[in-house]
């Protein structure tokens, strides 16, 4: 009787997570807790970092069977096995793996974005393009390091686009094994935009340039706003078909907003839908950061290089945007404040707020926000185009 009791208890202990906990699991759980702390206490992109880090925490508890990384490591992936043997996170992860969630998030972003400042001043698209130097500069850096394949380097470089959904979309297509660290780096740096950008912006501009007051933007008519998503979709998708999922959904969302005839659809896309998708996306992206990945030789070093390269990507993007802004300032005879260039790295609307803040430090009467929104939303289009280019060239 006593022996049975002891056996039962010891079996229970053997089957519990505690018995199967390895130091690697503990490391991953600690990392997850650090990110939870950053999200909850420091409020770094909490809407994404909370689901991501909790997904990481839950997936790294042994025997929980929420996520089975081994199902996703086979090539080609056996989707039948995923459906039959997969856990909760495996099934939700299908939306990431098949490239469904990031475009749906773009649909919501499209509804939330006002392209008016961009239509009023189309030249700001050039600033959005210049900031994409961050992506390609980092690609060069990652290839120079030598321990990344072409596809991995392209996925790391896209962190410089400062666009979470784009980074996740491209990484699942090119280098899904790095999805966890890349998504974490992308979202962490997006939250750190107000810390990373100002020193670079101040170093590259003179006080006089920062004080430049820009002309008020012209009002944009409704017809122009409605035509914009249609024209952008037609042109961009015809030139770079691989960017279609992101651009088409972004522009569909914007058409919902500007047409004004589908209020219910746009309300759903910008509230309920984007929130639901964000929960699924965050949770499962976090869950891909599993302990057995850490045990692979060299993965820790790779993760560290990704974090470092991500920072470089952001910095190059910001610097390229500001420098191009200086060029435009010079060409227009001092009508463009170079500070709006840094907003070209997308990270909407944080980067535009940073331009506004730095501009106001130099001249308290200056309101750069709307001027910076132009390059800011152009950056979203720019990074989606860059992702499409990388996918078609490297993929």
């Amino acid at each position: 009787m006593w022996q049975d009791f002891v056996n039962a208890i010891s079996d229970l202990i053997q089957e519990s997570g505690f018995a199967n906990l390895t130091p690697l699991h503990l490391i991953m759980i600690t990392i997850a807790c650090v990110f939870l702390y950053l999200a909850i206490v420091k409020k770094y992109e909490p809407l994404l970092l909370v689901p991501i880090s909790f997904g990481m925490l839950a997936a790294n508890l042994p025997l929980g069977e929420l996520m089975h990384p081994e199902l996703w490591d086979t090539s080609p992936i056996d989707y039948g096995a995923v459906l039959h043997e997969g856990g909760l996170f495996d099934i939700l992860y299908l939306g990431v793996k098949l490239g469904i969630f990031p475009p749906l998030i773009f649909l919501g972003i499209g509804v939330m974005t006002d392209f008016g400042p961009l239509i009023a001043n189309p030249k700001s698209l050039l600033l959005g393009a210049a900031a994409q130097f961050g992506i390609f500069g980092t690609y060069l850096g990652a290839m120079a390091l030598g321990n990344f394949t072409e596809k991995q380097a392209a996925s790391i470089a896209i962190i410089g686009g400062a666009d979470g959904p784009t980074a996740i979309w491209l990484t699942t297509k090119l280098a899904p094994e790095l999805l966890g660290p890349i998504a974490l780096a992308a979202y962490s740096y997006m939250a750190l935009v107000p810390v990373i950008q100002p020193p670079i912006m101040k170093a590259l501009t003179t006080n006089k340039e920062r004080q430049i007051v820009m002309e008020q933007l012209r009002p944009v008519s409704k017809t122009e706003k409605i035509l914009f998503p249609i024209v952008v979709t037609l042109l961009t998708v015809l030139i770079i078909p691989s960017a279609a999922p992101l651009i088409a959904m972004l522009m569909l969302g914007n058409l919902f907003r500007e047409s004004g005839v589908v209020g219910r659809l746009s309300e759903t896309a910008e509230n309920a839908l984007i929130n639901i998708v964000t929960i699924f996306l965050g949770l499962t992206v976090g869950a891909t950061a599993s302990a057995d990945k850490l045990s692979q030789p060299g993965f820790g070093l790779k993760a560290l290089s990704i974090i470092l390269l991500g920072l470089i990507a952001f910095s190059i993007g910001t610097a390229a945007g500001v420098l191009f802004g200086k060029l435009m300032c010079w060409i227009t005879g001092g009508k463009v404040n170079p500070l709006i260039g840094s907003a070209g790295v997308s990270a909407v609307p944080m980067a535009a707020r940073v331009s506004q803040k730095v501009g106001q430090e130099a001249n308290p009467q200056n309101f750069l926000l709307m001027h910076a929104m132009g390059p800011n939303v152009a950056g979203v289009i720019g990074s989606a185009v860059a992702a499409g280019v990388l996918l078609s060239m490297v993929g």
Binding site: L118, I119, P122, K123, L125, L126, G128, A129, Q132, F133, I135, F136, G137, Y139, L140, M143, A144, E150, Q216, P219, V220, S221, T223, E224, L227, F228, V231, V232, L235, T236, I239, I240, P349, R353, Q356, K357, Q360, P364, Q365, L369, A378, I381, G382, V385, A386, V389, L390, M393, V394
Partner: protein
């Protein structure tokens, strides 16, 4: 550094710049067309005879405002209309009995602490 890496970087940047430049051109073209089309419409409206007195007054006001706006930088017809409407509202809702002769931006008289506080408030709401 392999040649392929460099070519990917070069082609990538060229494609991104050319796609976005193409977008700039197309936005400019269709904006110009729309603005011209609208101007033509509003011109033909102005030329047609008005039966309603109120409409005639509106047209007269816009033309006079247009001449002012070219003279003074930074003032557009909408801004003048808003300022005139604000004066009318504070004078009791009637447009009789006053004439807006000039609108001048006065220097910065708000205490700096008020400006700082206001900016901080705006930034928290962004």
């Amino acid at each position: 550094m392999s040649l392929r890496t460099l070519s990917i970087v070069l082609v990538g940047m060229v494609v991104v710049f050319s796609v976005l430049s193409l977008l700039i051109i197309s936005i400019k073209i269709y904006s110009t067309i729309i603005i011209k089309f609208k101007n033509r419409n509003s011109n033909s409206d102005k030329n047609s005879p008005k039966t309603n007195d109120v409409q005639r007054i509106e047209v007269a006001e816009t033309t006079s405002v247009d001449t002012i706006s070219t003279a003074q930088n930074g003032l557009n017809p909408e801004l003048i209309a808003v300022i005139a409407a604000a004066i009318a509202a504070i004078m009791g809702g009637s447009s009789d009995g006053f004439k807006v002769k000039s609108i001048k931006r006065i220097g910065h008289t708000t205490p700096i602490w008020n400006v700082a506080g206001r900016n901080e408030y705006i930034l928290t709401k962004l």
